[in-house]
């Protein structure tokens, strides 16, 4: 059986990209996966055109949750908020590659959920996004 744990996933786990904190972030959000104990915090700094000038994540947990958070930050950087909002579950899964069980899917999508929570909170539509966020 082929493993989800590709060289790429392990490289992102051991050498995380965009890990740390931002001093001037307008968007901040944090969440945990209570089942696994994964923790992800995401901070985003916007430029004058409301594009993501910089993004950092912080957290701890399994390789899937940490690698996917790292990959997400690369994907989001430079995008407009509208583009970032449209990033889907499928986009993340194709970056990770391979099949995940329902339980591990939560690990893979935690960072996307956190990023979107922060984003929707910033644009003031967190209430309307509850359904989308709970599907992640």
């Amino acid at each position: 059986m082929s493993s989800i744990y590709s060289e790429i996933i392990l490289d992102y786990y051991r050498n995380p990209r965009n890990k740390g904190k931002l001093d001037r972030a307008q968007i901040r959000a944090k969440d945990t996966n209570p089942l696994c104990g994964d923790v992800i915090e995401i901070q985003m700094e916007l430029d004058g055109d409301s594009k993501v000038k910089d993004i950092r994540f912080n957290g701890m947990g399994c390789a899937i949750s940490q690698a996917s958070a790292s990959m997400l930050t690369e994907l989001v950087k430079g995008k407009s908020l509208d583009e970032a909002r449209k990033i889907s579950k499928e986009d993340i899964l194709s970056l990770i590659g391979g099949q995940l069980s329902a339980v591990r899917l939560k690990c893979a999508l935690l960072s996307l959920k956190v990023m979107k929570t922060g984003l929707y909170n910033y644009i003031g539509s967190l209430e309307n996004a509850k359904e989308e966020l709970s599907s992640l």
Partner: protein
């Protein structure tokens, strides 16, 4: 170590249909027995026979089939009583599981006997089910929780136990065997010490009764709780034992049918125990299934099961400790531990470990195993746990060890 054959493990394995499964192209290796045990044909067939032949509500039907169901249910209670050497079946209350048993004691005994400023003594290795009910009680009554700490090897700090006793603990609630460390606590001695100061003792036997002979008269515990599903029985059935007339002095937990003697518009009277604590239609087939599980385990012999598990645990600790980068938690002496081996390997998160082992058909548990305070004490976010039962083999341990080498390869450890 010289391997002594306790019983024919291969023959025992034939009794468990699920062990024949192929998972991800490999023979299924079930090492999550501390979470729940697999069910032998004998238990499955007992449930099947109940539904097909004598399903009826108990204690109230006048007809033959109901009488048969009632007799089987009460025979199961008698089997439980004999199994743990209770003096009488009246000391046995059927509950949903260990969690409900502990909640029952917290409500029906705790609310009457624990008051403002009283102390309830727990240990750092307790399962959440033996922490949270006491937190709720302590909050309601203004009582305090006192924890007995553990050494780095996972052994109780005896002087802390003595200190809490001297400061006047009302109740000591303690795991007989830890579901993470495997530590078997010397409950018999602890109970003796506690009783000297008038402290009542509840033993959480969820991890001991399925795996070793437990004699409540020898232990002299006041309460003892365990679950059916961890000992080859069905889920949703468990046992609360209370010594002597303790049940008489307790208030009801749930009100409803079957637990009453008389009901009037504004007041009711209760049946004597154990029925006082079994409101409504209970898990009849669960109790009967538990009786079948007790028969099954007793036929093999709990002493033999314990010896088998001790040998396989010693083998596993020896074998797994050769894996480079592994940390195994709990006492190093197999005499002092049950069939539970929790570990971490390098920087591999336990959830990644469990996923990778599943790819090899091996079922383990990963996370905090409902023991968050213990993991905080150990300073680790999570562990991977392999837990054994009567049907596990050394060959399965070898395959776990091989699988760990594969994980080391993938993670380049």
């Amino acid at each position: 170590m010289q391997k002594t054959v306790q019983y024919n493990v291969e023959k025992v394995r034939q009794d468990f249909p699920i062990l024949q499964r192929i998972i991800n192209g490999k023979p299924f290796i079930y090492l999550d027995n501390a979470a729940t045990a697999q069910k032998p044909r004998q238990v499955i067939e007992t449930l099947d026979r109940f539904y097909k032949e004598y399903n009826a509500n108990i204690h109230r039907g006048i007809y033959k089939v109901s009488e048969e169901a009632t007799a089987a249910h009460e025979e199961a209670r008698a089997k439980v009583a004999r199994f743990i050497n209770a003096r009488s079946p009246n000391e046995i209350v059927f509950v949903r599981g260990t969690t409900e048993a502990i909640n029952l004691v917290a409500h029906a005994w705790g609310r009457k006997n624990v008051g403002l400023g009283d102390n309830i003594m727990l240990t750092e290795m307790e399962h959440h089910s033996n922490i949270v009910p006491w937190q709720l009680l302590a909050k309601e009554k203004g009582a305090s929780l006192k924890y007995v700490g553990i050494t780095d090897q996972g052994i109780l700090e005896r002087y802390e136990f003595q200190q809490h006793l001297q400061s006047g603990a009302k109740l000591f609630a303690v795991a007989h065997s830890s579901n993470v460390l495997g530590t078997i606590n010397p409950v018999r001695e602890l109970i003796r010490e506690a009783h000297k100061t008038g402290c009542c003792v509840l033993v959480d036997a969820a991890q001991s009764v399925p795996h070793m002979p437990v004699d409540v008269q020898d232990l002299d515990c006041d309460f003892l709780a365990f679950s059916g599903h961890k000992m080859c029985g069905p889920t949703g059935i468990g046992v609360l034992y209370a010594k002597g007339n303790l049940f008489d002095e307790m208030v009801p937990f749930h009100g409803g049918g079957e637990m009453i003697s008389e009901v009037h518009p504004y007041e009711s009277s209760w049946k004597p125990p154990p029925y006082k604590f079994e409101a409504g239609t209970t898990n009849i087939e669960g109790a009967i299934g538990l009786g079948a599980a007790i028969d099954y385990l007793s036929n093999i012999g709990l002493r033999k099961i314990r010896l088998h598990e001790r040998e396989i645990t010693a083998y596993a600790i020896d074998k797994l400790s050769r894996t480079k980068g592994i940390t195994i938690y709990g006492p190093s002496d197999p005499q002092a531990r049950g069939g539970v081996v929790s570990f971490n390997l390098g920087d591999v998160h336990p959830h990644d470990m469990a996923t990778l082992l599943d790819e090899d058909g091996i079922a383990v548990r990963s996370g905090q195993h409902c023991a968050q305070p213990l993991h905080e004490r150990l300073g680790i976010p999570a562990t991977t746990r392999a837990s054994f039962y009567l049907y596990n083999t050394e060959d399965e341990v070898d395959r776990l060890a091989n699988s760990l080498e594969r994980v080391r390869g993938i993670f380049k450890l």
